[in-house]
Amino acid sequence: MFELPSGAEIQGIIASLEASVGFFIPELYLSVLFMLLIVVDLFAKGRKNNLLSITTLLGLAGSIFFIYQQHSMQPGEFFFGMYVLDEFALFFKYLFVISAMIAVVITMADEQFDREVKSIGEYYALIVAMLIGMIMMASSADLMMIILSMELVSLTAYILTGYFKRDPRSSEAALKYLVYGAVSSGLMIYGFSLIYGLTAQTNLIKISAELSAHGYDPVVMILASLIVLAGFGYKIGAVPFHFWSPDVYEGAPTPITAYLSVASKASGFALLMRFFYIAVPHVVNPYEDIIGIDWVSLLIILSIASMIYGNVVALWQKNVKRLLAYSSIAHAGYLLLGIIVMDQLGTQATLFYLLSYFLVNFGAFYVVILIANKTGSENLDDYRGLGKRMPLAGAALTVFLISLVGLPPTVGFIGKLMIFSALLAKGSLYIWLALIGVMTSVISLYYYMLIPLNMYLRDSEQHGEKNMDSGMLAKVLMALLMILTLYFGLFFQPLSDFAKYSSAMFGVKLY
């Protein structure tokens, strides 16, 4: 049935592979780092080894150099269309690498690790592995790469979630994550198989061309789209595919929660955007799309449900991590708004929002960790009176939360501004979406402000003389994140320009 390739063809394949490897250096480098970390771990046995974490940090920092070099490369496909390199992917590479670095840093700060695990062991290696998976998710242009990279991310995430083996909540979270994730990705793969069946292609661009050229059976296409969407929805944590996320965020080690809520979610968005923009045929006006795969209305429902559900349910949360989990569901809704408009401005807005969310969410989780180190709790009630005892942490957390609400002068406000601008730039078409967006953000104010409310407006019951100093390094980092949040809220041009630059995606032209 299949003919073996001739020698010349093999030569060509080898040449192509050799050429492609040149575009794959950061990933290769990170893979080396991954293995190196395992080796280092073997040598350096320790409860919480700074050597290991610093190696990770340095290694990750080194990868930025390689990623930076890719700017000069021509955007394009390689590895036979399996993989692309474009500004869009580069954006996410930076985002993920820095996320991983921050995850490492806040892991170093988290004292829970000292209590829970004997050895930090392969923890950092797993973070790097997850990073590789996410980078590949952002660059995949082929169904097979998508499956592989997504599974890489998922599998490492399961392990990291359950990393506190003796903590029942951590284990429970891992199990739930595992079952839900496995089913979702299984369904997604099944959906891919249907798409493959319809088009006989696995490359996104080719799928798009095939669908446009020959048409398709709408019922099958709906089914395939829906179950693929289930997989993506699970990754971005959007309603109604969000169910895993509150439990997992609550149970996972806090650095992992932060990492998941920012980087993993962003990778899901990267994938969604690429798949959505490229593989799905659409014309400029989404309402003229072929019935049956009206992805825009699919995403609209997803988005509205996320914004409302996330914000409304968050009102009742007593655990700060869980509260932030629901908030992250809501933010997935806002991010989807930017994708819905399906134009260059929307993409730019989404990317900007991701940046702001990345900055702020890490900041918030970092402070939560620092507070948990001192109080040993993530419960809202235990935040009482903290504003006085930890003034900088309180101030920083307040700034982060304000940014999450989307109030000036924080970067979160600019994010919302960009998203709503993208919506309103379409004229009156999406005004109602913007209305839901702003209304739900008012609701969100209430639960976000519960934290400053407890920190400042209420006095704590116990007057422990406990040392509440979180250390110089932590303070500097906290202050840095806070100042960045404020600075980019006022002078957001660099971020925004970067987002604009990064909105260029190979294989599709956005207007």
Binding site: L175, K176, V179, Y180, V183, S184, L187, P218, V219, I222, L223, L226, I227, L229, A230, Y234, P240, F241, F243, W244, D247, I291, G292, D294, L298, I301, V312, V313, L315, W316, I443, Y446
Partner: protein
Amino acid sequence: MHSLIQLSIVVLLLPLLSFVILIFFNRRLPRSGDFLGVGILGTAFALSAYIFWTVIVQTYDPAFRIAWDFTWIDLGKVPGVGPLQIKMGVVIDNLTAIMLAMVTLISLLVHLYSTGYMAGDKNYGRYFAFLGIFTFSMLGIVLSDNLFSIYIFWELVGLSSYLLIGFFFEKDSAADAQKKAFLANRVGDIGMWLGILILYSQFHTFSFVEINANLAAGKFALSNAWLTAAGILLFMGCVGKSAQFPLHIWLPDAMEGPTPVSALIHAATMVAAGVYFVARIFVMLTPDALHLIAFVGASTAFMAATIAITQNDIKRVLAYSTVSQLGYMVLGLGVGAYSAALFHLVTHAFFKACLFLGSGAIIHAMHHEQDMRWMGGLRKHMPWTFATFTLATLALAGLPLTSGFMSKDAILAGAIGFAKVEGGGIFYLIPVLGFFSAMLTAFYMGRQIWLVFFGESRTHLKPAEDHHGHDVHDAHHGAHDDHDCHEEHHGVHEVSWNMRAPLVILAALSVFFVYSPDPLDGAKGWFMKMIQTPETVVGEASLQKAAALRSGVAPLIAEAVLPPAGHAETDSHAAAAAPSHAAPAGVHTFADPRQAEIAHAAHAAHFPAIYISSIMVVLGISMAFIVYVFRIIDPEKTAISIRPLYLFSLNKWYWDEIYEATFIKGSIVLSKVFAWFDTNIVDGLVNGVAFTVKKFAFANGSFDKYVVDGLVNFTAFSVNTTGAVLRKLQTGKVQTYVVMLILAVFGYFVYYFTRLVY
């Protein structure tokens, strides 16, 4: 600027100076600075007297008028109107000159009197400060050349009245009275303010001259009903300030203030300001408005008189008499007897001030006993007071040879003439009420004189528990320690010179020759000659013009809205020159037929009015004699036999109770309802929304539960039931999550499948 204008401004500002100095420094000045108040007022009076001399005596021209104004607020070039300025200004004409002199004179006398009466009060200095600001505001009203500044000073007069009524603010009754006075005045003021607004909205000016000119030119673009409404609304200001029915209720209560204040403010000047104001706007009043004014005046005069006959408090009798007399003045203006009404204003000011100061002397001497039932026989102890009080009483009752006789007669003559011209019928009610009130006046004043001055002292008859006068006058204790040692009536003696002198001066001013050589005809005197009824600007002619302009094609805005100031006079003079109606000698000629007829008829009714009113006064006095002197009819028994009527009068026609039950209770209930509405419904709705949002999260816990009305309850309930189903979903069991995942996909699929099929 004319030198008289300059002087008048000095006169205006002097009392203000007195206020400023005394309010800040009274505690640092010797004698709390009373000499300063008296001195400043003396200067003011001297200057006013000079103005009076120059204007009335030297110039002696009925049309005398000088004015000066300055731009107070410049609104720039207003779109749709053009350059717009709010001006403030001073006008001096004969009326102003007379009023200036009158106000400063009475104020000076009251200042002087108060140095005796108020001596020893702990807030002595502040008292004079308040008198100063009152005088300032009153002079402001008198001098104003526009509605806006009149309104300003009008309110300031209200403030000073408020401050002075509540001078003994520790007394709850005083505090109540001051609030009542201010609020009743405010009710009137909003009417006045609306009237001003109607005129302003048409002409974009507050100035009398410009408004009159525009009205005369027929530029009033709204219907005549609006014009009438404007007049009536402006008159509401007078209703409040001059205590006309139905806002008269505050004036008797205002007697809670110190008696000299009652004399100055609540008898002579402030309450007369309302009448003065109606005189100022007289020319803009349409016949309909005038009718209403006349009826209000007549009913006030009658009602107050019927109340006065049963009151026991010496000051309350005088207060109701004041209301009644103010009714006369308003009646006079309403019937078009302009100069008569103003004449009565001035004469009444003097004799009523005299009466109040006299009663003050009595009260002072009686250790703050105000109930006439426990007085009596004071004639012997207080001859000066008795003499002046009696003279003023005669003037009030309207006996010939007094000033009151002339002015009241002129008003009643006008009323008869008016009734005739208007075609009789209901309009005859006005003179009838007027005459009847004259009789009642004579009766209750006779009663008062008798009860107070004649007979034997009845101090010992006073029930002991009723002896509360002292308690409420704590403030005076210090001053009257020397009196208190004389337990009984023997303590009563004549007051000191500084209280006596004002009485004498005021009494002297109640005699006829001050005003007119002929005791029977005020019209022969200088006053009636100087103050002549002005020509209306809303007569037939201008109303027709206005109607023509309204219906006509001429675009109003295109025309220059404001003719140069002063046109009004030339217009009216030109019109007056036209001999449209042959007028009898001594009667001012009018272009407006209605005014001319009334003037004519009033002139004709002069002597009938004299006869009738004399008869009425004699009747009244004889009745008083019959009842109180000869005791032919026993007042107590009569009171019992006509008890309902007696109570009706004693309780002041139950107006206070009616207002209490309706407006005051109503407002308070309404305010409670609104407040409840605010916290429960308006706020509750908001909270309800928040509540619903929270319920939607199907969780429980405490939330700021405020009032949840039925609607919100229902919403919460229905959301709750939905929540009960939804609650099963988020169980923490991962399999449920998977089920939800599948369901979501399936739901989506069904949705799109149906869309696809249909």
